[in-house]
Amino acid sequence: MALRRCTKAVDGTIPVQALLYDDEEIYASQDNVGIYDGPQKSPNHQAGTIYVTTHRLFYIDVHNPFAHSFFMDLSYVSRTEHYAGLFKSSPKVTLHLTWGPTMQNQTASQDQTTGFESWECEVCAYRNPPGLSPAAAKVCGLCGVPRASIPTPIAPTVPPKQLSLSLPASSTSLAIPSPRSTTPASNTDPDTIACPACTFLNHRSLRSCEICSTELPRVRRTMKSAPSSRPVSPDLDDEDSPLTRMVKISFRKGGDKPFYTVLKRSLKSKIWEANGFGTNASINTRSVPTTSDRSGVSKSGISGILQTVEDSAQGRQMGMMDAFQDLEALMVKAKDMVRLAAELNEKLTAASTSSSTQSPLSLASTPTSSSTTLISHAEPEEATFIRSSLSQLGLQMSNAPVTLDMMKDERRWIEELARELAQVLQGSREGGGMMKNRGIIALDEAWGGWNRARGVALIPPSTFLSVLPHLPSCTEPTIQSRTFLSGLGVLHTPMYSAAAFAAKLSGMLALTGPKTTIEVALEEGITVGLSSEMIAAAEADGSICRDDSATAIVGGGGAGDAGLRWWPNLFVDYVWDGQD
């Protein structure tokens, strides 16, 4: 029945700790328990100690530990129930079990072939130590690659019952792993291995064929020192009713509750299947591979790394989805927020108007209304604060006027910035500013230099532009901004204002003769682009004129501005001196 199906005998004289897999650990234990196989008491297991580990449930009998002790894989457990006890009936924990048709065979063969034998990984040649749990033993401990030559049990063509009846002695030949299909099935002599290439019967300790050096199929003989104390023999009268598919643990001396919680935790964490494939297919399909399930598992090797990458990608995806959901929610709510802001604004306006009309009254009327005056004094500041925060959030109402006091802070800030910019440009008494030796500077250069001087909390161009109008009041000599026709913006001292520069330029040209743009740039110590802008401005107001070498009779040349020479404006004030 259930107990026989799902349990395997152990030698209870050995301490439980020594029976564990390497990666298994004991969670809790409870003595004075009895076992029910299905609804009935199991006669041989009425007084013992129960241990719950990460992988298994151990029962060590008190009276006959050698013969009657057993363990059961937790993977069989599909459901648990707790019964608190009534009068003389002890509290009980019921374990509902499930198993597939081949499970018994499979686990048996795995025990014999993988559980307690070291094996070599085919990828990294790491010799994995024995003693790991069946699931952990399927994956290489170093590189994490699943064991390729895992002995897949041959699916029996006959029902398991008859199979095990016909081969009662633990079905050795069928449990032999057959990685190659060419392995002769008629390999009856247990001491020899037939070479798959030349069929020579090699000694079984050889790895490659003595004759042709072909690698031999590895035969793992079951080396059972002692016959199993309880030969697995299925019941012929097995009924698959849910009643029989369960095991009860009866707690004669209490301790049921702490044990039950620990058991449930162990069942929930599913450590036995964490390292690869679960032994029970039905359980495996139910397990959802989420990060939380595997977080407690030690990850190693390539698959571990891949697992980590996958997990982090998944986590990112989840975070992104959450973020987008938040954003969508915000978009849905945006209209409400705007409406709320509008209402708030209206209330504030109403409150401020009423308080402003009220405050002189309250001051005049009675001293008892001091509280209202306090409020009316406090309110404008708060209203300003709320409004400025609303405008900072971009929820500023178009109908609400931007009052002066609302912008008071910002204006002070801009003025402070203007003072700072003035210092950067003109320098303090000891240090030189950017415009110490230059009368004119392009806006982009000034902005970049300022931000470089600030280092942190950089100023956006829009703020920079709004600071510029305040600059003349903070500088000595005044620095003003000017925008040329091409859109180039500059900051300049009075010497470089349009009129002053034009006068200077025409005077210089009259004195030293016509010049090209580049010569003017050299003379003034400004960039060519800037000088051409300023010359264009001077030409536009008529203080200079041009001579294009394209009008030359001989030679000529210089396309574009290259052939231009600048003259003082000869045409103004010209009086006809030729023949009439």
Partner: protein, 191 residues
């Protein structure tokens, strides 16, 4: 940098501005350009009057070796007037009624009015009075190519016709069709 006047071989005194290279460049500044254009018109009219030139063509600026070389080119400063610039000057002359496109409906050739048609009418009338040819029939050829050289010598027929038309309107002339063309009879006028 002082610019001086220059006297050409034909005895015409070029103004000092003709020696300034910017004078030959089209100025982008409209104010400057209008001043320069005015000076050009002044120069062209003075030169035409001096040399009795009645026609100015854009080709004169394109090809050298014609009557206008002394004005439209300045070898001393290696500058010349570009045809496009001249076209604009001509347009302004026509606009300000000191020239007219001749033949009409094109913009590459103008008839210069260094004397306005009214003035030419007076010149014609006084010439007829002074040469005692009132009340006689004169062909156009008699006027444009008289035996004794007069102010009217070489005047284009189109300009002459305009002057005669003005006299006709004021009743001092009468156009008469003759066998080999047209004739005109001038009266003492004033009635």
């Amino acid at each position: 940098m002082s610019l001086t006047t220059h006297t050409t071989t034909s005895g015409f005194i070029l103004p000092s501005i003709h020696s300034a290279p910017p004078f030959f460049t089209q100025q982008p500044n409209p104010t400057t350009q209008s001043i320069a254009t005015d000076q050009w018109i002044h120069l062209i009219q003075a030169y035409a009057r001096h040399n009795r030139l009645f026609v100015l063509r854009v080709e004169d600026a394109e090809i050298s070796g014609n009557d206008w070389d002394e004005v439209l080119r300045n070898e001393r400063i290696n500058r010349k007037l570009l045809p496009m610039h001249l076209t604009q000057i001509l347009a302004k002359m026509v606009f300000s009624n000191v020239a007219t496109y001749d033949p009409p409906k094109q913009t590459r050739s103008v008839l210069l009015y260094w004397r306005l048609p009214d003035e030419w009418a007076e010149v014609l009338h006084s010439w007829a009075v002074s040469t005692a040819q009132l009340n006689t029939i004169l062909t156009f050829y008699d006027i444009t190519d008289p035996p004794v050289k007069s102010e009217l010598s070489g005047i284009p027929v189109s300009l002459l016709r305009k002057a005669i038309n003005i006299l006709v309107k004021s009743g001092r002339a009468q156009l008469i069709g003759v066998a080999d063309g047209e004739g005109v009879r001038l009266f003492s006028g004033g009635r």
